[in-house]
Point group: D2
Amino acid sequence: MTRLRMGMIGGGLGSFVGPVHRIAAEMDREIELVAGCFSSDAGRSRAAGESYRIDPARAYPTLDAMFAGETARSDGIDFVSIVSPNHHHLPAARAALAAGVPVISDKPATATLDEARELAECVRTVGLPYGLTHTYSGYPLVREARARVGAGMLGTIRKVVVEYPQGWLAGEAVGKQAEWRTDPARSGPGGCIGDIGTHAFQLAEFVTGRKVVELLADLAAVVPGRAVDDDCTVLLRYDNGARGVLLASQIEVGEMNGLRIRIYGDKGGLLWRQEVPNTLMLHSLDGRTEIVHAGGSQLGPDAASRTRTPTGHPEGYLEAFANIYRDFAAVLRGEPAPFLPGIDDALRGMAFIDTAVRASRDKAGWVPLTV
Amino acid sequence: MTRLRMGMIGGGLGSFVGPVHRIAAEMDREIELVAGCFSSDAGRSRAAGESYRIDPARAYPTLDAMFAGETARSDGIDFVSIVSPNHHHLPAARAALAAGVPVISDKPATATLDEARELAECVRTVGLPYGLTHTYSGYPLVREARARVGAGMLGTIRKVVVEYPQGWLAGEAVGKQAEWRTDPARSGPGGCIGDIGTHAFQLAEFVTGRKVVELLADLAAVVPGRAVDDDCTVLLRYDNGARGVLLASQIEVGEMNGLRIRIYGDKGGLLWRQEVPNTLMLHSLDGRTEIVHAGGSQLGPDAASRTRTPTGHPEGYLEAFANIYRDFAAVLRGEPAPFLPGIDDALRGMAFIDTAVRASRDKAGWVPLTV
Amino acid sequence: MTRLRMGMIGGGLGSFVGPVHRIAAEMDREIELVAGCFSSDAGRSRAAGESYRIDPARAYPTLDAMFAGETARSDGIDFVSIVSPNHHHLPAARAALAAGVPVISDKPATATLDEARELAECVRTVGLPYGLTHTYSGYPLVREARARVGAGMLGTIRKVVVEYPQGWLAGEAVGKQAEWRTDPARSGPGGCIGDIGTHAFQLAEFVTGRKVVELLADLAAVVPGRAVDDDCTVLLRYDNGARGVLLASQIEVGEMNGLRIRIYGDKGGLLWRQEVPNTLMLHSLDGRTEIVHAGGSQLGPDAASRTRTPTGHPEGYLEAFANIYRDFAAVLRGEPAPFLPGIDDALRGMAFIDTAVRASRDKAGWVPLTV
Amino acid sequence: MTRLRMGMIGGGLGSFVGPVHRIAAEMDREIELVAGCFSSDAGRSRAAGESYRIDPARAYPTLDAMFAGETARSDGIDFVSIVSPNHHHLPAARAALAAGVPVISDKPATATLDEARELAECVRTVGLPYGLTHTYSGYPLVREARARVGAGMLGTIRKVVVEYPQGWLAGEAVGKQAEWRTDPARSGPGGCIGDIGTHAFQLAEFVTGRKVVELLADLAAVVPGRAVDDDCTVLLRYDNGARGVLLASQIEVGEMNGLRIRIYGDKGGLLWRQEVPNTLMLHSLDGRTEIVHAGGSQLGPDAASRTRTPTGHPEGYLEAFANIYRDFAAVLRGEPAPFLPGIDDALRGMAFIDTAVRASRDKAGWVPLTV
C-alpha cells in the first residue's frame, strides 16, 4: 500500500518540466516525490525543494550526496526521474544505476547516440528498470489507435503522416528552456529534431507497430544565427514498405503543440491530434467516418485502463504523462507494462536524431536507420 | 511547507467523484488525503481507504469516529471534502463544522433549500471556511472570460445562453450514480436541474458577474417512470435586465458533458465550451473574431495563475477541479480566493433548484428568484 | 428541353436576396430569369434589369405592366419569384395568380396571418403551384437527416433544440434590408421571429416530420427603440409530446448565420449546422458517433439527388437554395417534389409568428398553435 | 449587356467536371453555354447537349465541325472551355486558337511538358486569352490570404506546408474518371502529382507570391499494379530561400478533398482549408489568433469582390470556380484580372510535374525547377 518514492534530478526553479513530472508521477497516488537534486547550486536546489514541499534535508546539491543520503535511509528513494537538460541525462542515469536506483528519464535519452549506446550498455548490465517519458504515447486514444491498428482495422499500413508544429522558437530564443534547447553543448546536435522530432518518430512507431528502416532528412536552422535545427522534414520508410512523412518545426508562428498523426492502410485511416486529444477519427474504405471518444464505451482495455474520467470530461497532457508514470510504477512492482517506452525507444530515438542530422548535413538522400 | 490534511466523506468503492476529488485536491501538493469516512459500512470504508493508499486506521466507519479520531491527533485533518449523495451533505457538513473542521462540498450544497438555509446559518454561526466545488468555474479560460467581461470588453451584457447537454440518462438509470441521482430521496426534488442545471446557473452568474432575479422553468421527466426531471428549459432575467436561456438535459443521446456558454453584450460576444476548454472565442462588434488560447501570452492574471502547462498542452477537467481546491487551500491559509464558490453560491444554487422545480410543477410562468 | 422562364418581383439594386434567387433559380439550367418588376420606380427597375442582363423591355415598372406584357408574349414568363419585403408578398402573389402565373415566394409568406389566410384561399381557388423558399430545407444533409429520422434511426423523437443566432442587428439598423426588417409596417408584427424564427420552426418540422401543437414565447426588442422583436425564445411541444426549444436572435454579436438543429430520440441523436453544412453528426445509444459527409456514398436518394459535387468539394447556401428551385421546377413540369415547402408551410409559418408575437406580448404562457 | 457565349470541349455524359464548369461559368450571368463538342461519338455528344439544354444543332461531334459551325454564326461562341482528359488538351487548344477562339482549360494544361511548351508558343503567337482553372485560387479567402501576405502581415515567408490528401483511389480505379486518371496514355506521366499536386503547387505560389526554384520529389504508386503515382511527397525551396513541403495523395482512406495550406513568416502564420473554406486563421508573433470570415467586414477588395453572400451563408467549390470564370470573362471584355491563372501557370505546373516525376524516378535529390 505504500507509495513508491521518487527522487528528481533537475527540475529546479523556473522549470516547466519538473513540476509536470511531479504532478504526473503523483497523480495516481502510487508515487510520491520525496527527494531531489534540483540544481547544482545548493541554495537553488534547496529553494526548489521548498517549492515542491519536500523535506529540506532531502534537497541535495549533488548527485553523489543524493544517492549517498537516500541509500542510507530505510525510506530512501525507489527510483529517480531525470528531467535536466539532455547533456546531463547520461551522467545522471549512470550515477543512479550505479547506486542501484531505477531510472525514468525525459527524452531524448541522451545528448548523442554514442551516449545512448553507453546508456543502453549500462542499463543492460545493471538490469534495472529504465523508462523514457514519451508522454504522447500515454494518451488513452493513442493506445486505442494502436490497438485498432494492431487488430487490423486499417488493413496493411501504407502511409503515415506525423506532424509536430510549434512556433515558440520563431523569434530569438529567450528563457531558460529556449536557451539550452538551442545550444548544441546542452541539447546535443539535434535541436527541433531532438526535442520534438523524436516524439513524432516514437509516436508513429508506437501506433503503427512498424519500425522505420530508412529515412531522408532535410533539417535547417531557419532563424538567423541559430546553432541547431529548428525546422525538419524527414521522409520515412517502414519495415513493411509503408511510406512516411515526419514534419517537425519550432518556427511555425501560431502553432502551439500541434502534434498529430494520420495513418492509412488499405482498409481504413485514422487521425489523432494532441491538442484535441479526446477524439480519434476513424475512416473506413466504404466512406464511413467514426469519432471515438475518450472515456466512452467503445474503448478497448488498453485505453479504458488509462482513463480517469467519463466521456466529455476532458483529460489532457498531465493525465497522459501520468499514464507513463503509472506504467513505470507497474514495472517497479514487477507487473507488465507493455506500452512503457524504454531503452529500445531510447536507442531508436537517438539513432533517429543522429542519422537525420548527419544525413541532412551531408545531403545524403535516403539512408538506412540502424540501431 | 506542510501540506493541508484532507478527510473525505463519501467517495467509496466504485465512486467516480471520490477519486476525482482526491486527484484534484492533491495535484498542487498543497493538500494530502489522509483520512476518510468513505462508506457507512466499516469494511467498505476500509477497502476504500486501501484503494486510496491511506493509513488503514484512518478509514473510519462513521462521521463520529472520524471527527473523534482526527481531532485527537496532532496531525489530524485540516478540512473535509464531502462527496456523498446530496441528502448526506447537510448532516456531514454539520458534523464537520461542529467539530471545528472546515468543509468543501460537492454540489448541490444540500438536498433541499431548507437544508441549505440551515447549512448557511450553521456556516455563519461557526465562522469556518466553506467551499462548493463548482468545477467549471475553475477552468482558466472561464476566469479569463469573467475578467474580460468584467473589464467591459463585451459592453453591457444583454443575453446569456448556457447549455448543459448530456445523454447518459437517456435509457434506464443503471449504476450507482445513476440510481441515486434519479431517486428524489437521495438527490432531492431536482434531478437534472440539481445535478447539472446548477452548474450552468452558477457558471453564467460567475462569468457575467450578474445575478438572476426572475425565471420561468419548464422541467420534465422524459424517460417513462422517472421520478425526477431529466430535461430542463429555464428562461432567466438578470439584475441588469439581460435575458438568459438555460438548457440542461440528460436524455440527449450522444451528448457527453457539453456544458457551454455564450454571452453577448452591446459591444461583443464570447463562447466557451467545456469539452474544448482550452480555447475561448471572442467576437467584437466590428466583425473580428479572436481565439484566446489557454496557457497563452494573452491571458490575464486570473487565468495565468491557474494554468500549469504552456499553450498546446491541453489541461482538462481534473486541472479545473484542482483550481477549486487550490482556492480552498488559499482560504485555509488565510489568503484571498475571490473566485472560490462558497455558501452564497450554495444558497443561490439551492434556491434556483427549488424555484425552478416548483415553478415548473405549478406552471407558474415568470417567478422571482430570491435567496 | 427549353428552360422555364422566371419573372422576379423585387430584388432591385442593392438587394441581397434578388441575386441569390437568380443564381439559385438558374443553377441547374432548368430556369432562366427573363423579366422582372424589380422596383416601383421605372428607372430603378430598368437599371436592375440591366444588372441582371435581361431584355430591357422586360424590366417593368409595375406588376400590371409585367403581367400584361408577359402574358401577351409567346415566350412569356412561366412563373414569378417574389423577393420584395414582406408587406408586398400578398399583393404580388395575388396579382400573379390572377394572371394565371405560378408563384414562388421568399418567406415569410406574407406580413400577417390574415394575409396568409387570404393567400391560401387564393392559391386553393386558383389551383396554381405555390412554393416558399425555406432555403435551409434544401441542403442535402438536411434531407438526409429527415430521411434517417423518418427511417426510425433516432427512435421516437423526444427533444428538439433549434437555434438561429445572428448578430447583424446588434447595433442600429443600417442599410436597406435592416431598415425594412425592423419596420413593422413592412415586415409585419414579427421581426426576428419572422425573418429567421420561421426558418428554424420550419426546419425542425421538416426534419422531424412532427408538427408543433403548443408553444410558449418570450420575445423582446433588446436594442433600445427597436419596434419589433430582435431576440426570441420559444418553447415548443410537438404532436407526439416531444419537447422543443427554439432560440432565434439578431443581437448576438459575432454570430453570423448560425442556424443549427439537434434532435434526440430514444435511440439516437443528430446535429446539423448550417455554417458547416457538409457534415451531419449522428449519435447512437451505444455511444457511437458517425459523421455523414455530403456527397459521400452513405447518402440516401433524397440527399444524393440534390448534390452537385463529390465529397470534399463543399456545397453551400446557393446550392441549397437551388435545390428549392429545382423542386419548384419539378412541380411546374408536373413531377413530384415532396420536399418543396408550399402553402401549408406558409400558413404554419405565419401562424407561428402570429401566435408567438401575441403570446409573448400577453405573457400568455403555453398557447395552442392552430392553423 | 449580352452574355459571353461558351463552347465546351469534353464534359460528356457522366462527367463530373463538365457540369461543374457549366455551373461555374454561368453563375454570374456573364457567360452562357451555347455549344459543345462533348464527345467524339456524335450520338453521345448530342445526348450530352440535351442534358445541358443547348440547341441540338450546336452539339457537335468533332472539333472541326464545332469551329466551322460556330465561326459561321453571328452569335457564335466567344471562347471554349476544355474539360476533356489531359491528352486532349493540346489538340483542342490548338484547334481553338487556330480558329481565333480564346481558351480556358482544365488543369493540368497538357499531358506533357513538351506539349505545354508547344501550347505556350501557340498562345503567344496567336495572342488570344488563355486561362487555366486552378479552382482553389478562386476562393475569396485564398485571395484574402494572398493580399495579407502581400501586405507583409506575415513578414518574410519562411515556411510553406501545402497538403492535398484524397482517398478515392485507395482501391482499384473504378469509373470513367478514375480510369483515365490512372492511365498514363491519357493523364500523362503524372498521376496524383498532375491531378492534385499541381493544384497544391499553384496554390502555394499564388498565396505566397513566391516561386519554387528547387525541389526534391518522392513519388510512388502505392496501389499494386498502378501505372502512375498515387502518393507524393515533394520538398520545395522558394526563390527567397523559404522552405516548403508539398504532400499529395490519393490513397489516404477517408480523406476527401482536403487541400490545405499553412504559411509561416517571421511575423505571423496562416491556415486555410478547402473543406472549411469560409474561415481563414491568422496567427501573429505575439500569440494572437484571429479568424477571418468569408463575407465579413474584415475582407479586402480582392476577396470582397469575389463574394456573393454575407457571412455565415457558406460559399463553396462552385462559387470559387465561378470566380475563375468571372476573371476570364473580365479578360475577354478587356478588363484586368490579375489573379486569373494563365499560360505561365500552365508552364510552371507542367514543369513541376515533369521535374517531380523525373527526379523521383531517378532518385535525383534536389533538382532545379526551371520553366
